[in-house]
Symmetry: C2
Subunit: 461 residues, 2 copies
């Protein structure tokens, strides 16, 4: 500590009295996000700034002393991207939680990174506007975390992901300098797209301290269809037909039989158990919505759906949505989990699920499969007993095999959860040598000393 004391003293000199935590009892909660099997270190300090100048101060001190800095939101991530590193500074942005502006003419919101997704979503809705990205963690996760991971969600199938709604960023660089990227305007092509380079870079290129987000007019209330199938393959075939028919679902979610039962065991949501799969779709196309969900239902019926139901009111729709949102908690009751996040072209979904079934058998593990299937994004979740080393090993092998399968089907190792430390080695496999080299060169241009979230996304050094 004697060596580190000057760092702490310098940090404290430019921050409010309660901004720096060093007591292990206080810093413990900031050590890691929700991912399993991701190493997390013991930080030198947790710093909680309330203004951009304070973030600049932290980065200047960190640069001067070559101390790693891990930017952090609510730690709801699933890849360890926000995990502390030994002797580093955890830079929690949660206290920078102001909505600076909501403008209905320009259809933009200007926010600090600590604003919760749900808080922003509700605030813009009050003005008839819509911020679509809606990760399942939306009640807990921050916009800063959403930006850092380019978060997806249920709405993506129609409206796109976080990066599609980012217009401009204020970013504190590793040096403490302020970079402004993008612009408030709807269009703009002046220079390289640094905004979208930073979105999804998981805190490795800079610290986002303000974002200008594009908004849409609030959609009309959605109608929901639920269809139960004997086999998962039929449900996934229905998805390809629904999309090819141009029906534009505003949600298109898949729950395999194990997941449906897990939800129902966790909380009685009135779901049919003993089925092979449940497909939940929505349409928010106003006067078209009723015909849309009916057409979706007809497609499901033709594929042998056991039961097709259209939610008759908003309460019933909300209940089905809630069932989807609690998947993470319900599945965790089944045992320890390794949550995968592969995305494949929609046309390969059946191949993906068939392959996962084989992988589960080969490795003797249970894999449940909820997924944003309208986007081809599946969350195969390996369930295992953490106390049994052999089971842990089998789970990790199955997890890896699923990513290998996703890549073989023309997909990606991560549709929305990000790389963090969990998939760092797999990223190199997906990118290949040339792209990895470019990633390192870009990282070096932004962060020559390598102090920003080292060891995340790219291996250190």
């Amino acid at each position: 500590m004697t060596v580190l004391a000057p760092v702490l003293d310098e940090l404290a000199a430019g921050l409010p009295a309660d901004a720096v935590l060093t007591d292990p009892a206080s810093t413990e909660a900031y050590r890691h996000d929700e991912a399993n099997f991701c190493p997390s270190g013991t930080p030198l300090a947790v710093v909680r700034p309330t203004a951009t100048e304070q973030v600049q101060h932290v980065l200047r001190v960190a640069s001067a002393h070559r101390v790693p800095v891990v930017p952090q939101g609510s730690r709801t991530g699933l890849s360890g991207a926000a995990n502390a590193v030994d002797g580093g500074i955890v830079l929690s942005l949660s206290r920078m939680d102001q909505i600076v502006e909501i403008n209905p003419v320009d259809q933009v919101a200007v926010v600090e990174p600590g604003v919760l997704n749900a808080v922003l979503s509700r605030a813009v809705l009050e003005q008839g506007l819509y911020y679509p990205p809606d990760p399942s963690s939306w009640e807990l996760s921050t916009i800063g975390g959403n930006l850092a991971t380019n978060a997806g969600g249920l709405c993506c199938v129609k409206y796109g992901v976080t990066t599609d709604f980012v217009r401009a960023l204020e970013v504190v660089m590793a040096s403490g300098e302020i970079l402004r990227t993008g612009r408030r305007t709807a269009k703009g092509v002046a220079g390289y797209d640094l905004t979208r380079l930073i979105v999804g870079s998981e805190g490795t290129l800079g610290v986002i301290t303000q974002a200008t987000l594009g908004l849409k007019p609030a959609p009309e209330a959605a109608l929901t269809m639920a269809a139960a199938f004997t086999t998962a393959a039929d449900a996934l075939t229905a998805v390809t037909k629904i999309m090819a028919a141009g029906l534009q679902p505003s949600m298109c979610e898949f729950l395999d039989g194990v997941t449906v039962r897990a939800i129902q065991d966790y909380r009685d949501m009135g779901l049919p158990t003993g089925v092979g799969a449940l497909l939940l779709t929505q349409s928010d196309r106003g006067p078209r919505a009723a015909a849309d969900v009916e057409a979706m239902g007809v497609i499901c019926g033709e594929l042998g759906a056991l039961d097709v139901a259209v939610a008759s009111d908003a309460t019933e729709s909300a209940m089905l949505m809630e069932a989807r949102r609690i998947v993470h908690f319900a599945v965790e009751k089944l045992g320890s989990t390794l949550i995968d996040d592969v995305a494949v072209p929609r046309s390969r979904l059946v191949d993906l699920l068939d392959g996962i079934t084989v992988i589960a058998q080969e490795h003797g593990v249970t894999v449940c499969c909820p997924g944003h299937v309208g986007d081809g994004n599946m969350h195969p979740t390996v369930i295992f007993d953490r106390g049994d080393p052999a089971a842990v090993e089998r789970a990790q092998k199955a997890f890896d095999a699923i990513m290998r399968l996703g890549l073989a089907l023309g997909g990606t190792i991560t549709g929305e959860h990000g790389v963090g430390v969990l998939k760092r080695d797999w990223l190199a496999t997906e990118l290949g040598e040339l792209s990895t080299r470019l990633h390192r060169d870009i990282k070096k241009a932004f962060d020559p000393l390598g102090i920003l979230n080292p060891g995340k996304v790219l291996a250190a050094g």
Copy 2:
């Protein structure tokens, strides 16, 4: 030529016999795009490859001999980005014009860069699909050029610009290596977003040889509203009210009085002359469209529109669209033109137009103002007599003053036309020192020898 002969020999060795043009009479047409006042050099050769391996060959030879390479599409650009440089190779991608695949389930098209925008748009429409980006040049411009400039168009106000529809790229690097970015899937967050870094980089980072583009279901036929106003300010105020009302126009175009008269003089399109401005809007929301355009009309009426008309059939709608599309040609009849491309937050449109009026008066020039005003993107076009040096100087000063105004209003120097050589110095002003430095570092990571489109976007060296 003796020094250069080895380069030509090496080029020819890996290319079809008719791929290399060196005769000045043949290469002349490839020297520049449609921008005025942009220097263009005399190329060593124009090379027209038909396959990716040939592009690799060209880049390898160019790297070995440090010869500049200017990637080029149809030369419809308006910033000189495709202009030849002295002694360099013009790499025309027009012969790589295959549509490799259109997939209705995955809703993607895979294309070579030389495919014309209109050819792709019609091909996907035959399968019930929609590729939205529609620059006014869509009948002539290539997808490769659209990608290089991140082209916009009329549809952007609802559907977004080129970058919003790009999923994956095959790129030949300056070294001749092949870089694959992105993925075919709808979602994916594995690594930094190199795809969108390359889109809009105007051929300075690599040569796009294949693109995987996202598609949407074909929209329903749009209804069109046209409203004539006494003053431009009223028309622009109508735009802000239409957008704030959440009416989601699929087109929202503004023509000032000078432009309306120029179109009508160029071709009789039945437009009302003697007005201050004409606003053209569309809605493609199916059953909502009629109510949408009526509501837009009511807003215009309340703001004192002289005349509000809803196109009663598709032919009439197409005619109004055509009127918008021929603006470029109509305005060129008025004299030599300097076409600006500022975009401002929609709420500042009235301020922009007021400022432009002042600038026109101060510099004694005529400025007509067509614009994609739904996006805040205006094309103030300075009309002048090229034969009069004093008039040329006044025009250039007015052109610069308009960009300065755009920046002062929180906007950008270019909404969709790009930087090229025309706005290279202004780009540094918009970006500032830090961002410019990062641009240079990124350029260097991709193109260490600086052979790719040197002097475009960033000043050489």
